[in-house]
Symmetry: C2
Subunit: 311 residues, 2 copies
């Protein structure tokens, strides 16, 4: 690890493989996580791209235990622990804190829309008090187009004021760099991660902590290089390369596209399978994505060996 | 029961009371359910107004067991069992089917937005296959402003064609009677419930099954009368009365307003307490709602006695 703050760098919101019966595929998941760690990125397991909300609490606790059992360092983990129900968020967050993970990435409760800032504050406060662990650290998760509940800067200010050692960062998946930049300006020392590597150069130029990005599942090494060498003369070229891969992947629904990509390069066809309501990318769509990836000189070195290894 | 089809009539999406520590208040919940049953309405427990998505699966299973233990007839229950994660929906739906409830009211998975109809179909199909119980019956739940995932008529047609004995109805909380009417016209025999009593007269005039409405928590007898005598000469007057109460309640956020209303008329102050991200209605807002309810000659007969009874 060339950077020393565990709450910085590049994190992959790790894709979750499923068996033909649609149970989480523990073995394939652990192998894929080992490959990602080998590529130098951290593991934001149980994120949006992980289909985390399509998993039960028990399934997530089981997968977290599998990673720890497999010897993955907890400080490389940033598990998603937000949930609509406080008891679920508390169970997951407590497990994350006990394990010594870098932080928990926490969605706000996302069923009700138009809820008050007081209500969202009360939710986070209640989870923090119930977890009651000094080691518990939260990276907030702003993704309003899916959660329907924005993490506003006034909310962040209130949470930092009340829980300065717990609420330490945010992932901004809002897609508006002006908001990312405003958070960086307003909250010095707060770790701000962009939610897409397309904003990596700008985010780092303004003091951001790194990125937590879908594409880090398939393009981790290149994104890490862009992070490590940000600001040098090759930065614009690197950013252009990242954008080309991103654009290729985005020619189809992102999660299905990423899963098919791992299935293809990892020679693990079953990896392409999502849980409903997501559906597997069809051959035509994959042909489009694949052609665009080839144009971008894309590869996933060592993935097939990693996914087939006898551990 | 003056009507014989258990899948018709008026259902209350039952409010969930919480203890000061924010655990579900089992005792108060059962007492409130007894009062509602006494008023002649069925119990759509674990709906939007129940803060169902703020409860863990275990909490919902426990509350369902409490109702059955208390002798409430399962055919008067329509528990909400939809969840983002299929394993959660299967556990709840299996419990609902085993208990012999009238139906399960099933939200689509609601985290991802813009999902395909194929994906939503696959979700319902997978839950139905896993539950694997001939007695399992589903009432779909269309509430796109909160779920972000519409139950379209083409989806309904596919589900009815594949599972004619399981997918038997829908609650339409979309707020657009043209859609309710189109479903009634297109699917004869399918039970269509309006999601607000403001549409009750129109819904019944076009062959609808009844209504599942927030206001049935506090105004059950009047809504039931409107259902039972729909089409007679007093129907417009009754509908006007229902609308006046609804309008009073809507002067503040609905769930908080309803909880404060039960707390007031039931002399059970703790009933007003929601779980975050919802917050308790403040005194000023309640004063507005209360004044409007008084104007509408509103009361909740027998509630205080029911909530304080030694069972």
């Amino acid at each position: 690890m060339p950077h020393t703050d565990p709450l910085s760098g590049v994190f992959a919101p790790v894709l979750t493989p499923f068996t033909p019966r649609l149970a989480p595929d523990r073995t394939l998941f652990v192998r894929f996580c080992h490959w990602l760690i080998g590529q130098g990125v951290g593991l934001a397991v149980f994120g949006t791209n992980s289909e985390a909300n399509s998993l039960s609490v028990e399934e997530k606790l089981d997968l977290l235990a599998a990673l720890l059992d497999a010897g993955i360092a907890p400080e490389r983990l940033m598990p998603g622990t937000g949930a609509c129900a406080i008891p679920d968020a508390v169970r997951l967050s407590s497990a994350a804190a006990r394990a010594g993970t870098a932080a928990a990435l926490m969605l706000p409760p996302f069923y009700y829309k138009g809820v008050s800032e007081d209500g969202v504050f009360a939710y986070y406060a209640d989870v923090i008090e119930r977890v009651g662990n000094q080691r518990f650290r939260i990276c907030l998760y702003h993704i309003p187009h899916l959660s329907g509940v924005a993490i506003t800067r006034t909310l962040i200010a209130r949470l930092i004021a009340r829980y300065p050692k717990t609420v330490v960062g945010i992932k901004d998946s809002g897609g508006d760099f002006a908001n990312t930049r405003a958070m960086l300006d307003e909250f010095p020392g707060f770790r701000v991660f962009c939610g897409s590597e397309t904003f990596l150069t700008e985010t780092l130029a303004h003091g951001g902590a790194g990125c937590i990005s879908a594409a880090a599942n398939v393009n981790p090494a290149a994104i890490l290089q862009a992070f490590l060498h940000a600001g040098d003369s090759a930065t614009p070229t690197r950013q252009t390369g990242l954008n080309a891969v991103r654009k290729a992947l985005e020619q189809a629904p992102m999660i299905a596209s990423l899963k098919r990509c791992v299935a293809h390069y990892g020679q693990a066809p079953g990896f392409a399978r999502p849980r409903p309501p997501l559906i597997q990318l069809d051959d035509d769509a994959w042909a489009r994505v694949s052609a665009a990836l080839d144009q971008a000189d894309f590869s996933m070195p060592g993935l097939a060996a990693a996914l087939s290894s006898n551990s």
